[in-house]
Protein backbone atom coordinates (compact mmCIF):
# COMPACT_ATOMS: atom_id res chain seq x y z
CA UNK A 1 0.00 0.00 0.00
CA UNK A 2 2.70 2.43 1.00
CA UNK A 3 4.57 1.57 -2.14
CA UNK A 4 1.51 2.18 -4.32
CA UNK A 5 0.91 5.64 -2.86
CA UNK A 6 4.56 6.54 -3.32
CA UNK A 7 4.58 5.24 -6.85
CA UNK A 8 1.52 7.26 -7.79
CA UNK A 9 2.86 10.40 -6.16
CA UNK A 10 6.16 9.94 -7.98
CA UNK A 11 4.46 9.46 -11.32
CA UNK A 12 2.23 12.48 -10.85
CA UNK A 13 4.90 14.82 -9.73
CA UNK A 14 7.87 13.77 -11.76
CA UNK A 15 6.41 13.62 -15.29
CA UNK A 16 6.82 17.11 -16.65
CA UNK A 17 4.78 17.96 -19.75
CA UNK A 18 4.78 20.88 -22.16
CA UNK A 19 1.27 21.90 -23.24
CA UNK A 20 0.53 24.35 -26.03
CA UNK A 21 -2.50 26.50 -25.23
CA UNK A 22 -4.37 28.25 -28.05
CA UNK A 23 -5.42 31.81 -27.30
CA UNK A 24 -8.27 33.83 -28.82
CA UNK A 25 -9.92 37.21 -28.37
CA UNK A 26 -8.98 38.95 -25.12
CA UNK A 27 -6.61 36.13 -24.09
CA UNK A 28 -4.70 36.55 -27.32
CA UNK A 29 -4.69 40.34 -26.89
CA UNK A 30 -3.45 40.06 -23.30
CA UNK A 31 -0.63 37.68 -24.17
CA UNK A 32 0.22 39.36 -27.47
CA UNK A 33 0.26 35.99 -29.24
CA UNK A 34 -2.18 33.32 -30.39
CA UNK A 35 -0.57 30.42 -28.45
CA UNK A 36 1.71 29.87 -25.48
CA UNK A 37 3.48 26.78 -24.21
CA UNK A 38 3.17 26.02 -20.55
CA UNK A 39 5.15 23.53 -18.48
CA UNK A 40 3.09 21.34 -16.20
CA UNK A 41 5.17 20.31 -13.22
CA UNK A 42 2.83 18.58 -10.82
CA UNK A 43 -0.20 16.72 -12.16
CA UNK A 44 -1.58 17.19 -15.68
CA UNK A 45 -5.08 18.36 -14.87
CA UNK A 46 -6.87 21.41 -16.23
CA UNK A 47 -6.74 22.91 -12.73
CA UNK A 48 -2.96 22.66 -12.68
CA UNK A 49 -2.79 24.04 -16.20
CA UNK A 50 -4.68 27.13 -15.05
CA UNK A 51 -2.29 27.63 -12.14
CA UNK A 52 0.74 27.10 -14.36
CA UNK A 53 -0.59 29.48 -17.02
CA UNK A 54 -1.14 32.22 -14.44
CA UNK A 55 2.31 31.66 -12.93
CA UNK A 56 4.22 31.42 -16.21
CA UNK A 57 2.21 34.09 -18.11
CA UNK A 58 1.15 36.78 -15.61
CA UNK A 59 -0.45 38.72 -18.49
CA UNK A 60 -3.11 35.97 -18.64
CA UNK A 61 -3.93 36.04 -14.93
CA UNK A 62 -6.96 38.30 -15.26
CA UNK A 63 -8.39 36.57 -18.34
CA UNK A 64 -8.07 33.27 -16.48
CA UNK A 65 -10.46 34.46 -13.78
CA UNK A 66 -13.37 34.12 -16.21
CA UNK A 67 -11.96 32.20 -19.16
CA UNK A 68 -12.58 28.48 -19.52
CA UNK A 69 -10.20 25.78 -20.69
CA UNK A 70 -11.29 23.65 -23.63
CA UNK A 71 -9.68 20.26 -24.20
CA UNK A 72 -10.19 18.82 -27.67
CA UNK A 73 -12.78 21.54 -28.39
CA UNK A 74 -14.92 20.82 -25.34
CA UNK A 75 -15.08 22.83 -22.14
CA UNK A 76 -13.23 20.84 -19.51
CA UNK A 77 -13.62 20.99 -15.71
CA UNK A 78 -10.59 21.36 -13.43
CA UNK A 79 -10.24 17.61 -12.80
CA UNK A 80 -9.85 16.69 -16.48
CA UNK A 81 -6.44 15.12 -17.16
CA UNK A 82 -4.64 16.52 -20.21
CA UNK A 83 -2.88 13.98 -22.45
CA UNK A 84 0.09 14.60 -24.70
CA UNK A 85 -1.77 15.05 -27.99
CA UNK A 86 -4.79 16.96 -26.69
CA UNK A 87 -5.70 20.31 -28.24
CA UNK A 88 -5.93 22.81 -25.40
CA UNK A 89 -7.38 26.32 -25.63
CA UNK A 90 -8.15 29.19 -23.31
CA UNK A 91 -11.65 30.37 -24.20
CA UNK A 92 -12.46 33.72 -22.62
CA UNK A 93 -15.69 34.96 -24.15
CA UNK A 94 -16.65 38.60 -23.97
CA UNK A 95 -19.64 38.36 -26.25
CA UNK A 96 -20.34 36.16 -29.16
CA UNK A 97 -22.78 37.23 -31.84
Amino acid sequence: MMFWVWNCWAQCTLEYMDVTVLLFGPASTAAGTDRVTVCLESDHTVGSLRDALAAQYPALEVVLTWGRIAVNQKYAPSITVIKADDEVALVALVSGG
Binding site: F24, A30, G47, T65, R68, A70, A89, S95, G96, G97
Partner: protein, 159 residues
Protein backbone atom coordinates in the same frame (compact mmCIF):
# COMPACT_ATOMS: atom_id res chain seq x y z
CA UNK B 1 -34.56 23.52 -43.34
CA UNK B 2 -34.35 20.18 -45.00
CA UNK B 3 -36.48 17.96 -42.73
CA UNK B 4 -38.45 18.07 -39.49
CA UNK B 5 -36.23 18.13 -36.43
CA UNK B 6 -33.31 19.16 -38.63
CA UNK B 7 -30.36 21.10 -37.25
CA UNK B 8 -28.13 23.03 -39.63
CA UNK B 9 -25.08 24.98 -38.50
CA UNK B 10 -22.98 26.98 -40.94
CA UNK B 11 -20.01 29.28 -40.38
CA UNK B 12 -19.25 31.38 -43.46
CA UNK B 13 -16.63 33.91 -44.48
CA UNK B 14 -17.97 37.43 -44.69
CA UNK B 15 -21.52 38.77 -44.36
CA UNK B 16 -24.54 36.49 -44.66
CA UNK B 17 -26.46 36.84 -47.92
CA UNK B 18 -30.09 38.02 -47.96
CA UNK B 19 -32.21 35.10 -46.95
CA UNK B 20 -35.76 33.94 -47.31
CA UNK B 21 -37.51 32.60 -44.22
CA UNK B 22 -38.30 29.25 -45.80
CA UNK B 23 -41.14 27.16 -44.58
CA UNK B 24 -41.97 24.84 -47.51
CA UNK B 25 -40.42 22.07 -45.49
CA UNK B 26 -41.51 20.85 -42.06
CA UNK B 27 -44.25 19.13 -44.05
CA UNK B 28 -47.14 21.30 -42.89
CA UNK B 29 -46.20 20.86 -39.21
CA UNK B 30 -44.75 24.32 -38.69
CA UNK B 31 -47.13 27.03 -37.53
CA UNK B 32 -44.35 29.52 -36.85
CA UNK B 33 -41.10 30.21 -38.66
CA UNK B 34 -39.06 32.89 -36.92
CA UNK B 35 -35.93 34.34 -38.44
CA UNK B 36 -33.49 36.46 -36.45
CA UNK B 37 -30.85 38.53 -38.23
CA UNK B 38 -28.05 40.04 -36.17
CA UNK B 39 -26.85 43.13 -38.01
CA UNK B 40 -23.74 45.26 -37.45
CA UNK B 41 -24.82 48.61 -36.01
CA UNK B 42 -23.15 51.90 -36.82
CA UNK B 43 -22.79 52.99 -33.21
CA UNK B 44 -21.10 50.87 -30.51
CA UNK B 45 -20.71 52.39 -27.04
CA UNK B 46 -21.12 55.87 -28.50
CA UNK B 47 -18.38 55.43 -31.10
CA UNK B 48 -18.81 55.22 -34.87
CA UNK B 49 -18.08 51.76 -36.18
CA UNK B 50 -16.84 50.83 -39.62
CA UNK B 51 -17.12 47.08 -39.21
CA UNK B 52 -16.88 44.17 -36.83
CA UNK B 53 -14.23 41.49 -37.27
CA UNK B 54 -15.33 38.05 -36.12
CA UNK B 55 -12.80 35.46 -34.99
CA UNK B 56 -13.97 31.88 -34.43
CA UNK B 57 -12.26 28.96 -32.75
CA UNK B 58 -13.17 26.29 -35.25
CA UNK B 59 -14.35 23.60 -35.25
CA UNK B 60 -15.26 24.11 -31.57
CA UNK B 61 -17.58 26.98 -32.51
CA UNK B 62 -19.46 24.72 -34.91
CA UNK B 63 -19.64 21.92 -32.37
CA UNK B 64 -20.92 24.24 -29.64
CA UNK B 65 -23.52 25.73 -31.99
CA UNK B 66 -24.70 22.24 -32.93
CA UNK B 67 -24.87 21.08 -29.31
CA UNK B 68 -26.75 24.26 -28.36
CA UNK B 69 -29.20 23.85 -31.25
CA UNK B 70 -29.84 20.22 -30.31
CA UNK B 71 -30.37 21.09 -26.64
CA UNK B 72 -32.75 23.94 -27.44
CA UNK B 73 -34.65 21.93 -30.06
CA UNK B 74 -35.16 19.11 -27.56
CA UNK B 75 -36.09 21.37 -24.65
CA UNK B 76 -38.70 23.30 -26.63
CA UNK B 77 -39.83 20.55 -29.02
CA UNK B 78 -38.83 22.54 -32.10
CA UNK B 79 -39.15 21.26 -35.65
CA UNK B 80 -35.98 22.78 -37.07
CA UNK B 81 -33.13 25.16 -36.31
CA UNK B 82 -30.81 26.80 -38.84
CA UNK B 83 -27.83 28.77 -37.51
CA UNK B 84 -25.48 30.84 -39.60
CA UNK B 85 -22.53 32.83 -38.27
CA UNK B 86 -20.02 34.94 -40.12
CA UNK B 87 -16.30 35.08 -39.58
CA UNK B 88 -14.05 37.87 -40.80
CA UNK B 89 -14.94 41.48 -41.49
CA UNK B 90 -18.63 42.48 -41.56
CA UNK B 91 -19.45 46.07 -42.45
CA UNK B 92 -22.10 48.23 -40.79
CA UNK B 93 -25.59 47.22 -41.98
CA UNK B 94 -24.50 43.72 -42.95
CA UNK B 95 -25.74 40.54 -41.27
CA UNK B 96 -23.27 38.48 -39.24
CA UNK B 97 -25.62 36.07 -37.52
CA UNK B 98 -28.86 34.35 -38.49
CA UNK B 99 -31.06 32.00 -36.53
CA UNK B 100 -34.15 30.42 -38.09
CA UNK B 101 -36.48 28.42 -35.86
CA UNK B 102 -39.53 26.46 -37.01
CA UNK B 103 -42.05 25.18 -34.50
CA UNK B 104 -45.69 24.17 -34.24
CA UNK B 105 -46.66 27.29 -32.27
CA UNK B 106 -45.19 30.73 -31.84
CA UNK B 107 -44.46 30.74 -28.12
CA UNK B 108 -41.80 28.02 -28.12
CA UNK B 109 -40.08 29.55 -31.14
CA UNK B 110 -39.86 33.01 -29.55
CA UNK B 111 -38.73 31.68 -26.16
CA UNK B 112 -36.15 29.39 -27.79
CA UNK B 113 -34.81 32.26 -29.88
CA UNK B 114 -34.04 34.48 -26.89
CA UNK B 115 -32.56 31.56 -24.99
CA UNK B 116 -30.40 30.44 -27.92
CA UNK B 117 -28.81 33.86 -28.38
CA UNK B 118 -28.11 34.26 -24.65
CA UNK B 119 -26.38 30.86 -24.54
CA UNK B 120 -24.53 31.51 -27.78
CA UNK B 121 -22.92 34.56 -26.22
CA UNK B 122 -22.01 32.54 -23.13
CA UNK B 123 -20.68 29.35 -24.72
CA UNK B 124 -19.80 29.63 -28.40
CA UNK B 125 -16.13 30.56 -29.01
CA UNK B 126 -16.61 33.42 -31.44
CA UNK B 127 -15.18 36.85 -30.73
CA UNK B 128 -15.87 40.20 -32.27
CA UNK B 129 -13.41 43.07 -32.59
CA UNK B 130 -14.76 46.51 -33.32
CA UNK B 131 -13.17 48.46 -36.17
CA UNK B 132 -13.78 52.12 -35.40
CA UNK B 133 -13.81 54.98 -37.86
CA UNK B 134 -11.69 57.32 -35.78
CA UNK B 135 -10.37 55.45 -32.78
CA UNK B 136 -7.80 52.65 -32.98
CA UNK B 137 -7.26 49.99 -30.27
CA UNK B 138 -10.69 48.45 -30.75
CA UNK B 139 -11.79 46.28 -27.88
CA UNK B 140 -9.55 47.59 -25.11
CA UNK B 141 -12.38 49.38 -23.30
CA UNK B 142 -14.57 46.35 -23.44
CA UNK B 143 -11.72 44.19 -22.28
CA UNK B 144 -10.80 46.48 -19.41
CA UNK B 145 -14.43 46.68 -18.25
CA UNK B 146 -14.68 42.92 -18.31
CA UNK B 147 -11.48 42.51 -16.37
CA UNK B 148 -12.56 44.93 -13.69
CA UNK B 149 -15.86 43.11 -13.35
CA UNK B 150 -14.21 39.74 -13.05
CA UNK B 151 -11.50 40.82 -10.68
CA UNK B 152 -14.21 41.25 -8.11
CA UNK B 153 -15.83 37.82 -8.45
CA UNK B 154 -13.25 35.19 -9.17
CA UNK B 155 -14.12 31.58 -9.77
CA UNK B 156 -11.37 28.96 -9.96
CA UNK B 157 -12.11 27.58 -13.42
CA UNK B 158 -14.69 30.03 -14.68
CA UNK B 159 -17.45 27.43 -14.86
Amino acid sequence: MSEPGAIQVVIVDGPLPAHTCENESCAGNAGAVVCFDGVVRRVEDGHDLVALEYEAYEPMAEQELTRLAQDIATTHGLLAIDVWHSRGRIAVGETSFRLVIASAHRREALTAMGEFIDLLKKDVPIWKHAVFATKPLPHCDEFRARNEKHERKQSPDGQ
